[in-house]
Symmetry: C2
Subunit: 340 residues, 2 copies
């Protein structure tokens, strides 16, 4: 088959590769209904993250099971499934504790920007629907796999509660999903920090009650002003840069919580500052598996439309353009159609 | 009166000072029943924390109110009171949120290693008992003021729950109080990391179920072994050094929580490591005021004897020896008798 391979910074190709096959008895092979490009794929694309040789890209996926290994018990060919970008057995102590993204057998998904993909630890990782969903559900189900699951975890980690005040730092796809999550969790006030009109509009559609365009020290001052000098109870840090983390720390009230889901790049925290700020912090790769059944239900019941975050849809052959559009910020998030 | 003044590293004197007096209408003056020396007093004593000129030492206190300012409403002369080392109004949004140690009017107590002391923000800071406690209650009531309150906060911040597994890093007075707190909160397993036989004994008396003598990498390996490779759900970091923080991070399970109460000195946290460790963290100066009524009740009901942490009792005139004994680790914590 053809699939997406990154050969180096800026060099993404849709090229001939070997068909995926069952390598371990716990694997499944799925035929993808659609796939997409993640903000984290831009780190190596921009040369900001070292890469050893060509990489099979893609870790967000949903589709139909076509084959399973001999040890797979609960997943069957013909089922429509969604999985997480973190592969987990869902039985180890960390999984049972709700942190499947730290599973003792954890692997990270790869090779999903393709018509077919191998999913290791299929029983633990995949969640099947009762019926084949309608075609218009596909973008929303795909979003659950990573971007919504990650935004949801950010809100969960930040302790968002009914009636609470939430600030979302970062207006990328994950930040927008964080807004949606906070809204679903019943936050009274959701302030999205964004300076792009199209993203502001989407943030409002997803439930943001206020928008702050300023960033850095000005952004901090604005939020403090809006909260009577108190700061926010829950802050979602959805970027992973030094500036965004400092911004989050500048606006979180003492005893409040920062949920951070942007993989930190060059972020260093001074212990004493952290101490006197007295903010709770929880980050990490999202344990999407914990949230999958609930989020899939919300999608199927029509309560949320997370797939609206895809503002560019391309046939998978044009994946290189999809990367370029996101790199140049012409697109928030690119969905790739797989019509094979 | 005479009081404790630190003139520089290693130079503590009990010398003539001005009597404390009401400076603001919200102040109270108390006659101390007893006072003590804090582990944090050793930072400047050891020259590890800059100090500008002579400092009136002491921030742990209980005693009888002798005078109140014109604006004090709830505290009256003659009452026995305990207060926190953090002075707070107990009415601002941060106080109402349970984080009185980040009160918008926060000050830090000083000058309590003396027969009399001024307590600012008396209404918000002090908690009075219904009756004058018996003399044998004084060490326990004094301990509530900081060392127990801080250990309790460490356990609270670390999310200690009934049936949970807890590790306490640091066998100083605060760590030992963390053990007591975890025990009161119903933890099933409390592992104290300690290499001193006398402290191990006290830890067991306070509720530790196991002792680990190893530290650093060996200590981490031992704890991981004891928890089947999982790590602990709640870790209390009661030291504040780089090594102790790394130890705490090495033994906390993903999704678990580190409550850290040792003021970090030279601690730097790598954002990416923190992220992938996926541990919740909450630190800061303890909001002792939140816990005061409950902890004072526990003492008065005879359910806890936190004052057992004082293993050296001296008349306040010998305060210099009290510092020396703690500096040389001959004493865990020194109580100072005030018989004036």
């Amino acid at each position: 088959m053809y699939a997406t391979v990154m050969h180096g910074p800026g060099d993404v190709r849709y090229e001939r590769v070997e068909d995926p096959s069952i390598l371990k008895p716990t694997d499944a092979i799925i035929k993808l209904s659609a796939t997409c490009i993640c903000g984290s794929d831009l780190w190596p694309y921009r040369g900001l993250q070292a890469q050893n040789g060509p990489a099979h890209m893609g870790h967000e996926y949903c589709g139909t099971v076509v084959e399973v290994g001999a040890a797979v018990r609960t997943i069957r060919p013909g089922q429509f499934v969604v999985g997480s970008f973190c592969l987990s057995d869902n039985t180890c102590p960390h999984c049972q504790f709700g942190f499947q993204s730290s599973c003792q057998q954890r692997e990270f998904m790869s090779g999903a920007q393709a018509p077919y993909a191998r999913v290791p630890l299929a029983d633990g990782t995949l969640v099947a629907t009762a019926e084949m969903p309608d075609a218009d559900m596909i973008p929303h189900m795909l979003a659950v796999s990573d971007v919504l699951g990650t935004g949801w975890y950010a809100a969960d980690a930040a302790g968002v509660r009914e009636g609470g005040t939430v600030v979302v730092v970062g207006d990328g796809a994950v930040g927008l999903m964080g807004v949606l999550a906070a809204s679903q969790m019943g936050a009274a006030r959701i302030i999205a920090m964004s300076r792009h009109p199209d993203r502001q509009k989407l943030a409002r559609d997803f439930g943001a009650t206020e928008i702050v365009e300023e960033r850095g020290e000005d952004g901090i001052a604005r939020i403090m002003d809006m909260t009577n000098g108190i700061g926010a109870e829950s802050v979602l840090e959805c970027v992973g840069m030094e500036q965004s983390m400092q911004q989050a720390m500048g606006i979180c009230r003492p005893g409040g919580t920062i949920g951070y889901v942007g993989v930190p790049h060059g972020v260093n925290l001074d212990g004493q500052k952290l101490f006197f700020n007295q903010q709770r912090m929880l980050g990490g790769p999202a344990p999407v598996r914990r949230f999958l059944p609930d989020l899939m239900d919300r999608v199927l019941q029509g309560r949320i439309q997370p797939g609206r975050v895809f503002d560019l849809v391309l046939p998978i052959e044009q994946v290189a353009e999809g990367y370029k559009a996101m790199d140049e910020r012409r697109a928030i998030k690119t969905m790739l159609r797989v019509d094979a």
